[in-house]
């Protein structure tokens, strides 16, 4: 397995806080990886240390076998898609894509930039300025501008956060297709668990400057290693130290199980969410099929689940 990137005990401190607190991570060539966590968990700072915009206080960034600590962004064979896209407003879409090729003194800059624009289906917008492009188009130009350089590693900092929900889902599919097509290793930073789970081959869940779990989307969702991961990925019903996913939580009228009272029943299109209150006042949600859309507010129900669906944490 060829490693594109290795992080060895990365630490970054800002006045008054340790933003990144010993992050180690290995990325194999050609994969789609995510750093997932709440805001302030250190994921963006980690990405900026890989890109060369911040210097780690301790630890090493190893790119394709070489320690790159201290190298400037322009000396690193990685490229970043910024959250704000950071397209040059005074240049057309084509000139934006050409920018890096020209800086590297490569030949056929314009032809290569055109091919990259065609890949993101924006060849007809080549002469538009960023201000004349829609959010999704800007996003694709930013992607083309980085991909045209064929970096060893593409860093994406919350690339879909600025898009509206429908466009976000479309761009998600496009990102995945682009990664598979180019074979370039992608490292995505996001706070959106659905985005991380749907796109990635591997997800690193971060909290308070540390990686809590690194694994496939199935692993981190179905077998969360810590209580934080279990709570951050999807919704979790807590019964003390035992967690049960809403889709594993069942309601019945038989009188067996934990007694509860229906608070509300929400129709979500593909399923219904029944919110119930236990006798101790804690709230639990059960996600069920549409055939169960017959629970009424105030109705007495009983909760049950399979022992195999229980998740236990210390």
């Amino acid at each position: 397995m060829e490693l594109v990137l290795e992080l060895r005990g990365l630490v970054k401190e800002f006045p008054g806080q340790r933003a990144v607190d010993g992050v180690s991570l290995s990325l194999a060539r050609g994969g789609f990886y995510s750093l997932l966590g709440p805001s302030g968990c250190g994921k963006t700072t980690t990405l900026r240390m890989i890109g060369g915009f911040e210097n780690p206080d301790a630890g090493e960034v190893v790119l394709a076998g070489n320690v790159v600590n201290g190298l400037k962004p322009y000396q690193r064979d990685v490229s970043t898609v910024f959250q704000s896209y950071a397209l040059f407003p005074h240049l057309t879409a084509l000139r934006n894509v050409e920018f890096g090729l020209r800086e590297r003194g490569l030949k056929d800059c314009t032809a290569r930039a055109m091919r990259a624009l065609e890949m993101v289906r924006l060849a007809d917008k080549r002469d538009r300025r960023p201000s004349e492009l829609s959010g999704g188009e800007k996003q694709r130009v930013a992607l083309a501008r980085s991909l045209v350089l064929e970096p060893k590693l593409l860093l994406l900092d919350e690339p879909l956060a600025a898009l509206d929900p429908k466009l976000r889902r479309e761009m998600r599919a496009e990102l995945k297709a682009m990664q598979r097509k180019t074979g370039i290793t992608f490292l995505l930073v996001t706070h959106d668990q659905e985005e991380a789970l749907s796109l990635s081959d591997y997800v690193a869940v971060m909290n308070k400057g540390r990686i809590e779990q690194f694994g496939t989307p199935e692993e981190v969702y179905l077998r969360p290693a810590t209580k934080f991961v279990a709570g951050f990925l999807g919704t979790m019903n807590w019964f003390g130290k035992t967690g049960v996913r809403p889709e594993s939580t069942r309601l019945s009228r038989t009188g067996e199980g934990l007694a509860a009272k229906v608070e509300s029943s929400l129709f979500l299109g593909n399923c219904i969410n029944v919110n119930v209150v236990l006798e101790d006042g804690s709230r639990v949600v059960a996600a069920m099929g549409l055939e169960h859309n017959n629970f009424h507010e105030g109705e007495a129900v009983w909760l049950h689940w399979l022992p195999s669906d229980e998740l236990h944490f210390q």
Partner: protein, 262 residues
Amino acid sequence: MALFFLLPLVIVFACSLLTRGDYGGVEQPWTLESYLRILDPLYLAIFWRSLWIATVATALCSLLGFPLALFVARAGKRRNLYLQLVLLPFWTSFLVRTYAWLFILRDTGLVNTVLLRMHLIAGPLPLLYNDGAVLLGLVYNFLPFFVLPVYAALERLDPALAEAAADLGARPWPVLWRVIVPLSAPGIMAGAVLLFIPCLGAYLIPDLLGGGKTVMLGNLVQNQFTTARDWPFGSAASLVLMLLSALVLAGLVRSRVARELL
């Protein structure tokens, strides 16, 4: 607006079309003679000289002011402190500051005294009463007018743009030339005009630091109203000065429009 701006302008325009009185003031008949006199090579030279000095002062201010504005914009927490320092000279009178240069530059002034005491020079250097002294005075006094708009333009730039340029492989100089300078161009243009116009009409600085030798347009106008007692010609000269300034402004507006259209 009409009272304080248009009325004086109309009076000056009327004066410029009349004949000079023997002891100042203006008399009948109406004539275009004052405007024709501006075409005299002696006066054309003064116009040309003023344009030239204002241009050089603007160029020098740009070279000094842009790096200064960039430095302030990137100073992080100290940004406000540096901004205050740039504005500090405005706390004293323009006249006092210009006189201070007299004491620094004259033959028995600070620079010459120190150099003489150190035996680095045999006699005092001619630092005062030449074009160099006038340029120094102009650059010193009007630099903040350039720095402030450029700083404002730089401060508005998304820092991610410079980072993106570096990320795409641009070294610091190309980042400056290909991204930062073009994107702060409106601020640079505004600063250059704010600088050029007062330099063109400068009167006190060439009078004090240039001695009698470096006559600029402002001095010409002043002389006509005082020693020469030729109000019509002074009025005509000041209107032409205004016209030049207006042309520079119009040029700026047009170039902005042109940039939007491109």
